[in-house]
């Protein structure tokens, strides 16, 4: 009984997901001004042949700085947790 209810909830959730996921049109290329700008001008602006790298470190550089902050904080958090556990065990 419980598992049947769970599977039913899961299917309803899947329907909601499918409805949300279907909103972008797959493979359509008409409305993508940002992508077209990157493909045409990013090479002259940054001089990098790898466009993903130029987006990560130039056009959206502050996003990447925040991401590095998250990574640093995660390493610090794991260090804190492990040292806390070792001190408690003694």
């Amino acid at each position: 009984m419980k598992s049947v209810l769970f599977v039913l909830c899961l299917l309803v959730l899947g329907g909601i997901f499918l409805y949300v996921f279907l909103s972008p049109v797959f493979g359509a290329w008409e409305g993508k001004h940002v992508a077209n700008y990157y493909l045409e001008n990013a090479l002259e602006d940054t001089g990098s042949a790898n466009l993903v790298s130029s987006i990560v470190w130039d056009f959206r550089g502050f996003d990447t700085l925040g991401e590095e902050t998250v990574l640093f904080t995660a390493a610090l958090g794991v260090f804190t947790i492990v040292m806390f556990g070792m001190k408690r065990r003694k």
Binding site: F6, L10, L13, G14, F17, L18, F21, L22, P24, F26, G27, W29, K32, V34, A35, N36, Y38, L39, E40, A42, L43, A49, N50, L51, V52, I55, V56, R60, D63, T64, E67, V70, L71, T73, A74, A75, G77, V78, I81, V82, F84, G85, R88, R89
Partner: protein, 116 residues
């Protein structure tokens, strides 16, 4: 291309099932990873282009490249998202080890001891 979205939804449902239904905490963390990967799959699939080439300029003229290459923006954002997922997984595993040392179990049904 209906099948791609159905595939991502199936992977997302597997992840949610693993997160909610399994009782081992390590399996819950694995379910979180599977769910995040389904979102990454969806974001990469949005940048699809028919007969596309990777967004890396090789020797050739730029106009042909701009007409054929796939969208580089979702790939960059997914790269950021992968790093966030890695941080979350590492922190969750640290918390799981701390809980195991305190309570001597990984089963969430037996984690009912209130005193710290």
């Amino acid at each position: 291309m209906f099948e791609v979205y159905v595939g991502t939804v199936v992977v997302a449902l597997i992840g949610i099932y693993c997160m909610v239904w399994k009782k081992n905490m390590i399996k819950k963390v694995i379910g979180l990873g599977v769910f995040t990967n389904s979102i990454h799959l969806l974001l990469i699939a949005i940048g699809f282009r028919a007969e596309g080439i990777p967004p890396i300029v090789t020797l050739g003229n730029i106009n042909y490249f701009a007409l054929r290459a796939v969208d580089p923006l979702p790939q960059a954002l997914v790269l950021t998202s992968i790093v966030i997922q890695l941080s979350v997984t590492a922190l969750a595993l640290g918390i799981v080890t701390l809980a195991y040392r305190h309570l001597k179990t990984l089963d969430t049904d037996r984690m009912n001891k209130l005193r710290g």
